[in-house]
């Protein structure tokens, strides 16, 4: 159990992530424990080999692939931007044309419609009022006027 605790400290010591107190404590333990000294040697060896792995040069196709990739993306974005603009213009055009057509139809219907409603008190309305009522008399008088006018 004691050694397990120091194993973690050894790993942290290699990475210089250890306090002075921990370092002293570890040093004391290592002076008394062969297994932990061997363990430290193993970790240090693996770390040294790892650190010593040399980076290789990346294939030259990486840079060209990336740059052509971003130009394609740029083109896509430009196309998308142009498409948005075109859709906006088309929408405005449709609205303007729609408004024009609406006005035209409104004017046309205004000409066709007979604005004179000349017979709202037609005799048929008499039936709506009981004989002798004010409504009946007014409607009858209006109907009479109309007939006289003709």
């Amino acid at each position: 159990m004691e050694c397990k605790k120091y194993h973690k400290l050894i790993s942290r010591e290699i990475d210089n992530e250890i306090s002075e107190y921990e370092r002293e404590s570890l040093k004391l333990h290592l002076s008394q424990c062969l297994k932990c000294r061997q363990f430290k040697f193993s970790l240090l060896s693996v770390s040294d080999i790892h650190a010593g792995i040399k980076d290789v040069e990346p294939p030259s196709t990486i840079l060209s692939g990336i740059m052509s990739g971003i130009h394609e993306k740029n083109d896509d974005w430009a196309l998308a931007g142009w498409a948005k603009f075109a859709v906006s213009v088309a929408a405005v055009f449709v609205m303007l044309v729609g408004a024009g057509v609406g006005n035209f139809l409104a004017e046309k219907s205004a000409v066709d419609v007979n604005p004179v409603e000349d017979n709202i008190f037609h005799v048929e309305y008499l039936g709506n009022y009981p004989p002798g009522s004010v409504g009946y008399l007014v409607a009858a008088a209006m109907e009479g006027d109309k007939n006289e006018g003709k």
Binding site: K4, H7, K8, S11, R12, D15, E17, L34, R37, Q38, F39, F41, S42, L43, S45, V46, S47, I49, H50, A51, G52, I53, D55, V56, E57, P58, P59, T61, I62, L63, G65, I66, M67, G69, I70, H71, K73, N74
Partner: protein, 189 residues
């Protein structure tokens, strides 16, 4: 111009600034992915994907941490998700103390204490072992040993606590030691 400045220029559509960033980081990124995958083609694909993602999201970049931390965060996420998706990737069951639970993980190395490996051969054994580590462990040990990140920087890159990083690095080292123990010379003691 520093990396962040180049990134901000990239966000305005300056492809020359982006090219400069790629030239600065392509080697370290390619090698990061190469050690994670042990496959040059996969490493190349991942490197390209990384930079295309970086370009695409350049307008979201904020200088809240160093650019190096930022790019390694993207790279780590890519490497870890790639390893998890890739079929046949060996995931080694280990407990919290870094003990191997599956002895079959051991590479089929010759168990011969007197075997003397050339430095290059030992390096190759380690590369193989590194590529077989669980992805988060290989990322953590790579960031520490090869890139020189501190534990707190690794914690930031990997969205982990510092104690989790400490534990991951320790576990990675224990696995690597088990893999190479037959080739390590204890005579110094």
């Amino acid at each position: 111009m520093d990396d962040s400045g180049l990134m901000f220029k990239t966000a305005t559509g300056d492809t020359e600034a982006f090219r400069e960033l790629v030239e600065r980081y392509q080697k370290s990124m390619f090698n990061f992915f190469l050690r994670a995958t042990a496959n040059p083609e996969d490493a190349e694909d991942l490197t390209q994907t990384l930079f295309l993602n970086l370009f695409k999201s350049s307008n979201k970049y904020r200088k809240t941490s160093s650019f190096k931390t930022y790019i390694y965060r993207i790279a780590s996420n890519l490497a870890i998700s790639f390893a998890r998706k890739k079929k046949g990737k060996t995931i080694v069951p280990i407990d919290n103390d870094g003990q191997l639970n599956n002895s079959s993980f051991k590479l089929s190395l010759l168990k011969n204490p007197s075997l003397s490996l050339e430095a290059g051969e030992l390096e190759n054994k380690l590369k193989t072992a590194l590529s077989k580590l669980p992805p988060d462990l290989s990322t953590a040990i790579e960031l520490r040993v090869k890139q020189g990140f501190s534990y707190s920087e690794i914690a930031e890159v990997m969205h982990k606590s510092i104690s989790a990083v400490e534990s991951m690095i320790f576990r990675a080292r224990k696995i690597l030691v088990v893999e190479l123990e037959d080739f390590l010379d204890y005579r110094n003691d």
